[in-house]
């Protein structure tokens, strides 16, 4: 089985702070991590490899420093890692990103493509499904359970209000939820190899077949007009009393503010 896992290096949002003036993330000095949903996707692939045998290629698009995320993936047990990096790719929105990654995937063999549901620094949940569309692959998003059954898989999709169980034939693409599993640690030997013997394949624009106008800033229809932090609202008020008193007080308040 050949699996390709797409990952993104993101700032650890547990450690991140917002610049109160500009409303943008202060990225300086914030540690970078593999996006949690993507890491669960990688773990799912590694478990398939442990149980059934598989070859895992991990791919990421990003600046040269994203190679650390690939080293981590390798130290966890991935077999091959590819960094898509080029100035042409810079400034991409989800469409340009998925176009670029899908173009790279066309150069690879796979039975299963795994992406994370969404990245913690963007929360769009669009890149995985878009890659599937570019490659005309069946896509199962929001995967919380994955059972490999030979030529197909039984997959559980979890939503806020329910779940679906789906049978899907390979090849297909799934987007993983962080809840899918608990990702393993890197091994000590894996860290050593990721730093001493691993050759990270670096693919630039010239290594993939795609039109330059479909990539990076040029290929991005999304335009960010303004980003801002929502203003602080006044503190809430708790109304106490019997249910009847509380309901009456609430109706009064709402009428006072001409809401009802």
């Amino acid at each position: 089985m050949k699996i390709v896992v797409c990952i993104k290096q993101v700032p650890d949002t547990n450690e991140v702070k917002l610049d109160p003036k500009t409303g943008t993330l202060i990225r300086d000095g914030v540690p970078s991590i593999i996006n949690p949903d993507d890491k669960a996707g990688l773990e799912a692939a590694l478990r398939l490899k442990d149980e059934f045998g598989a070859h895992i290629t991990v791919i990421t698009m990003g600046p040269p420093q994203a190679k650390i995320a690939l080293q981590e993936a390798y130290a966890m047990g991935a077999d091959r890692v590819i960094l898509l990096t080029d100035r042409v790719f810079a400034g991409a929105d989800t469409l340009a990103t998925s176009t670029t990654i899908a173009s790279a995937l066309k150069k690879l063999e796979y039975d299963l493509v795994i992406t994370g549901r969404q990245a913690i620094d963007g929360d769009t949940a669009q890149v995985g499904p878009q890659i599937a569309e570019h490659l005309s692959l069946p896509q199962i998003s929001y995967v919380s359970k994955f059972d490999h059954k030979g030529d197909h898989a039984i997959v559980k999709r979890t939503f806020e209000d329910g779940f679906q169980t789906i049978k899907v034939k390979y090849p297909c693409l799934i987007t993983a939820l962080a809840e899918l599993n608990e990702a393993r640690y890197m091994s000590v030997a894996g860290v050593v190899d990721a730093n001493r013997s691993l050759e990270i394949e670096t693919w630039s624009f010239s290594d993939i077949d795609a039109a330059p106008e479909k990539m990076g800033l040029k290929g991005s229809p999304t335009k960010v007009k303004k980003s801002f932090t929502k203003g602080v609202k006044q503190a809430g008020k708790v109304i106490e009393g019997t249910p009847k008193e509380v309901a009456t007080a609430l109706v009064d308040k709402l009428q006072e503010k001409f809401i009802i």
Partner: protein, 379 residues
């Protein structure tokens, strides 16, 4: 001298920190309270190659560096001194002498499973009447055909009962004194070998510290480590390395107590403000931090020298002396900053203070370290 961590070192430290935070710290209080050897943690470490960090792949190790191993002991000790000494005794005191002095056959038979973590190791030198004065060994080994027959006992042996392989010192020729001591590799299944009384201790309570008993214990002659009469030298050289491990443990204990103290003084309010706002607290924190960093430089310096195969015995002794005393001082200060709460088991600093004390005692007391340090100055 350079202390610049490589990307590999940083990734390794990140791994060790996450492992400690998720797997070790949550059970540290329980391990202490119930005097529970961390069996499950050892299994997890085995899986990740953490029990043979500095040994080459051909001998079952992870092929990492000595500093990385030392950093692992340090990070573990930040949360649990017990777990750190399990690793240190196994790696520095059992796997190391086999790697340094063993024959190719001994390395294949013993080092590979030890470095893979499939087997756990221990080291036996101390006896009731031979502590700092190691020459007073009463345990004897008498050659009998293809075997040596060992008789006697060892005390205070870390990992005893859980270890599969023991490096044991015994007298093969009493007339020769120190030069009559030999080292043996003893398996727990060997006839005539048993583990005796388990000590109840002040600190590192989860680690197993027991007596080893040899009653006509049959050890195959090929399990002699080095040659006859080389045991004392092997023991001393092994302890030189072991001291860096204990120094790292002491450093970790100090760092752990410091981390707790910093967190607490920011939260704890007295007289209407956090106690971090008081100058006494600030000065205590400054002293703790400064001393920990000084100890860290000494521990890393000794580790790097060993890694670079430079002479390091004096550095190891200085690092252990310094780090152990810093650990005692910092943990004591941490308990004081916590006040009454610090004296209770609700917070980990009292455990850290109890754990710190042993680092001034085992693998050479602070007095022995002073002897070692001054000996090379005054010769």
């Amino acid at each position: 001298m350079q202390f610049i961590l490589s990307n590999e070192d940083l990734m390794m430290r990140d791994l060790f920190r996450k492992f400690t935070e998720n797997e070790v710290e949550p059970i540290a209080a329980e391990v202490d309270e119930n005097e529970e050897f961390p069996v499950e943690t050892v299994k997890k470490m085995t899986k990740l190659g953490m029990l043979g960090i500095p040994y080459p792949r051909e001998y079952g190790g992870a092929g990492g560096t000595y500093w990385q191993y030392i950093n692992f002991v340090e990070e573990l000790a930040c949360a649990c001194a017990t777990t750190s000494v399990v690793v240190s005794a196994h790696t520095s005191l059992c796997a190391s002498p086999i790697y340094e002095f063993g024959t190719e056959e001994q390395k294949k038979k013993y080092l590979i499973p030890l470095a893979k973590g499939e087997k756990l190791g221990a080291f036996g030198l101390t006896e009731p009447n031979a502590g700092t004065d190691a020459a007073g060994q009463q345990t004897t080994a008498v050659r009998d055909g293809d075997y040596y027959i060992l008789n006697g006992s060892k005390i205070f042996i870390t990992n005893a009962g859980y270890a599969d392989v023991y490096i044991v010192m015994a007298m093969t020729d009493r007339a020769k004194g120190l030069k009559g001591i030999s080292a043996f590799i003893v398996e727990k299944e060997f006839e005539g070998f048993s583990v005796g009384k388990k000590e109840k201790k002040m600190g590192i309570r989860g680690s197993s510290t027991c007596e080893l008993i040899f009653e006509d214990c049959k050890v195959p002659a090929e399990n002699l480590l080095g040659s006859e009469g080389k045991g004392f030298k092997i023991a001393m050289m092994t302890l030189d390395g072991g001291r860096i491990g204990i120094a790292a443990q002491a450093l970790g204990i100090a760092q752990g107590a410091y981390n707790e103290a910093v967190k607490y003084v920011k939260e704890r309010k007295q007289f209407g403000r956090s106690i971090a706002a008081f100058q006494n607290t600030q000065f205590q924190i400054a002293d703790m931090k400064t001393k920990i960093e000084a100890a860290r430089f000494m521990v890393y310096s000794a580790a790097y020298k060993k890694q670079l195969k430079q002479p390091y015995a004096q550095d190891a002794a200085m690092a252990k002396l310094m780090a152990a005393e810093v650990a005692m001082e910092v943990t004591t200060k941490a308990v004081q900053l916590f006040g009454g709460y610090g004296y209770t088991r609700e917070y980990p600093v009292e455990r850290m203070m109890r754990d710190a004390k042993i680092t001034e005692i085992y693998e050479g007391t602070s007095e022995v370290q002073r002897m070692v340090i001054s000996a090379s100055e005054l010769k």
